[in-house]
Symmetry: C2
Subunit: 327 residues, 2 copies
C-alpha cells in the first residue's frame, strides 16, 4: 500500500481523531470511553446534529463546520449553567469529502477543544451516499440543584438576553448572496456570526442562583421565548425596540426596515435568553461585566401564556412567522 492510498476508517481515526482524544477516550482504541466525573457533580448531556445543505453549506470551510457542530452543543450546556468537559461525535460522510476536508475539520475541533477545555471521548465514522450528517453528544456537569431549567420563569421576572440578536439570520442571507448593498466588513461580520456562533459558557456557568429559567436562542428569539413561556406556564412581553443589535445589523435594518422580522424570528444566534427576578439584575450586570458579555433586558414575564411582541411604539407588532421549524 503506497503512502498516498486513501486511509481506511482505522487510518482516518488514527491520523485525524486519536490526537484529539482525552485520557477517558482510551486513544479511541476501545469499544467505549471511561469517564470519572468530578465528585458531587451531576452529569449534563445533550446531542445535536447538523446536515450539509441544511445547517451549513457544502462549500463552508470544514474548520468552521466542525466548530459550529461543537458550539451548538456547548451552547445547550451553557443554557443549563453546565460546565462542558467531553464530547462524542458520529460522522456520516460522502466519499467526496477526502482527507483534506477531514484535516480541516479536525483542525477546527482542535482549536475549539483548546478554547473551551473539552476533549473527544469517541464516536463513529460511516459512509453515506447523501449529504454529510454530523452529530455531537456533549457532556458536562453542574452542582446538584444548580442546573437552570426552562421551566422556572415567574410573572414579574425580567427577560434578558446576551450578546446581539439577528446577526446569524442576516449572515445566512449574506451567505446566500442577499444584502449585497451592505459594506464588505458588515457582510463578513454577519456571515461569521452565522458560521461560528459563540456559546456563552462564561455567562451561563455564572447564572445558577441568579436566573430562574434559561434557553439558548437557536430557533429564533420569539420562538425560543415561546418555549420558555410554555415550559414555565407563563406569558411574556418582548420589547422589540430593546432587542440588542450589532452595528452591522443596525445598518442593515436602517437600509431595509422589513428585516426586523428576520432579526426577531431568525435562528442560529446561540445567545442566552433568561428570566431573573428584578432583584437579581444588578448582580447579573456585574457578572456580565466580569465575563465581558453584553446582557440586555428586553421584556418581562407576565401572567397568562404566549409571547406578545411590542414594537418601538409600544404597540403589538405582527410577525409573519415565529421561528424555524425543522420539518
Amino acid at each position: 500500500v503506497s503512502s498516498t492510498a486513501p486511509l481506511d476508517e482505522f487510518g482516518r481515526i488514527a491520523r485525524f481523531f486519536a490526537p484529539l482524544a482525552g485520557p477517558g477516550g482510551l486513544g479511541l482504541l476501545d469499544d467505549a470511553a471511561i469517564v470519572d466525573l468530578p465528585p458531587g457533580r451531576l452529569l449534563v448531556v445533550t446531542a445535536d446534529a447538523m446536515v450539509e445543505g441544511v445547517h451549513y453549506l457544502p462549500d463552508d470551510p470544514p474548520d468552521t463546520v466542525a466548530r459550529k457542530l461543537l458550539r451548538v452543543n456547548l451552547s445547550d450546556l451553557a443554557a443549563m449553567g453546565a460546565v462542558p468537559r467531553h464530547y462524542l461525535m458520529t460522522l456520516a460522510l460522502p466519499p467526496r469529502l477526502g482527507e483534506d476536508w477531514l484535516a480541516g475539520f479536525a483542525a477546527g475541533l482542535a482549536a475549539d477543544q483548546a478554547e473551551f477545555g473539552i476533549e473527544l471521548l469517541g464516536g463513529d465514522s460511516v459512509a453515506t451516499s447523501g449529504p454529510a450528517a454530523l452529530s455531537v453528544t456533549a457532556l458536562g456537569s453542574v452542582a446538584p440543584g444548580a442546573a437552570i431549567r426552562r421551566s422556572g420563569a415567574r410573572s414579574g421576572d425580567i427577560l434578558l438576553v446576551s450578546g446581539t440578536i439577528g446577526d446569524a439570520a442576516l449572515g445566512l442571507r449574506v451567505r446566500r448572496g442577499e444584502l449585497s448593498a451592505l459594506a464588505t466588513a458588515d457582510r463578513d461580520f454577519l456571515e461569521g456570526r452565522y458560521r461560528v456562533p459563540v456559546p456563552r459558557l462564561s455567562l451561563g456557568t455564572g447564572l445558577p442562583g441568579l436566573a430562574h429559567a434559561m434557553i439558548d436562542v437557536s430557533d429564533g428569539l420569539v420562538a425560543d421565548l415561546g418555549h420558555l413561556c410554555a415550559a414555565s406556564g407563563s406569558g411574556a412581553v418582548l420589547d422589540a425596540g430593546a432587542v440588542p443589535l450589532s452595528p452591522a445589523s443596525r445598518r442593515a435594518l436602517a437600509a431595509d426596515p422589513s428585516l426586523l422580522s428576520t432579526i426577531l424570528t431568525g435562528g442560529d444566534d446561540y445567545e442566552l435568553l433568561f428570566a431573573a427576578s428584578p432583584d437579581a439584575v444588578g448582580a447579573i450586570a456585574a457578572l456580565a461585566r466580569a465575563v465581558g458579555v453584553i446582557v440586555t433586558p428586553v421584556g418581562q414575564f407576565v401572567a397568562g401564556g404566549g409571547v406578545e411582541v411590542r414594537g418601538p411604539d409600544g404597540r403589538h407588532l405582527p410577525l409573519a412567522r415565529t421561528g424555524y421549524r425543522h420539518f
Copy 2:
C-alpha cells in the same frame, strides 16, 4: 391546523419520543438532560451511527432498525463489562419517512428500553435530502477498575467467543436474495440475526475479574481478533474448526464450503470475543450457564503479533479478506 396535518419537529418529539424519556430527560423539553450517576461508579459512554442502505436496507421494518441502532451501542458497553442506563439519539431523516415509519421506530425503541432497562435522555431530529443517518450515544457505568479493555490479552490466554459466529453475514446474503437453496426457517433465522443482534449484556457484565481483554465482533471475527491483538501487543491463533456455528449456518456451510470465509470475516455478529487465563475457564463456563449464553474456546493468544487462522486440518487457512472496512 387539521389533526391530520404533518407534525412539526416539536409535535414529533411530543408524540413519539417524549414517552420514551426517563426522569433525567426532563420530558425532552429542556436544552440538556441531567443524570445522577450511581455513587462510586465510572461513566462508560459510546456512540455508533447507522446509514440507510449501508447498515440496514430501506425497506427493513422501522422497529428492527431502531432495535439494531440501540443494540450495536449496547454491545459496545457489554464489551467493556458496563451496565447500560441511558441513551441519546440524533436522527437525520428524509421527508419520505413519515409518521407511520416514526411510530414503528419508536415502538422498537420502547420494546428495547423495556428489555434492557434503559431510558432516552435527549437528542435531535433534523431533515436530510439523502438516506437516513441515525446515531445513538449510549451511557452506562462500571465499578472503578472493572472495565475490560482491549489491551489486556497475554500470551497463553484462551480465546473465547459467545453465541454463534457468521449468522449475520449469511443473513445479509439472505437479505440480498442469495442462499436461496436454504430452507425458509434457516433463511428467516439468519436474516433475523442480521436485523436484530443480541447484545451480550448479561455475559459481559459478569466478566470483570474473569476476562483480561474483550471486544464485540462487529467488523468480523478475524478483524476484531486483530484489533484485540494489536491493542494487547499479542498474537493469536484462531482454530476455524472450533468456531461455533448455528444449525442454519452449518447447513449453509455444508451446501457451500466456500462460505467459511464469509463466516470468519463477515461483520455484525455482536458476539463477545475475549481473552482469559486458562485458570478462569471453569468460572466462565459457570457464568455462561447461569446467564444462558453459549461460550466456546476458539483459540489462544501467543507471543508475537497478528492473527493466524488454522483450518480444521490444523493448517494455515488463507482468507481473501479479513473484515469489513468502512471506507
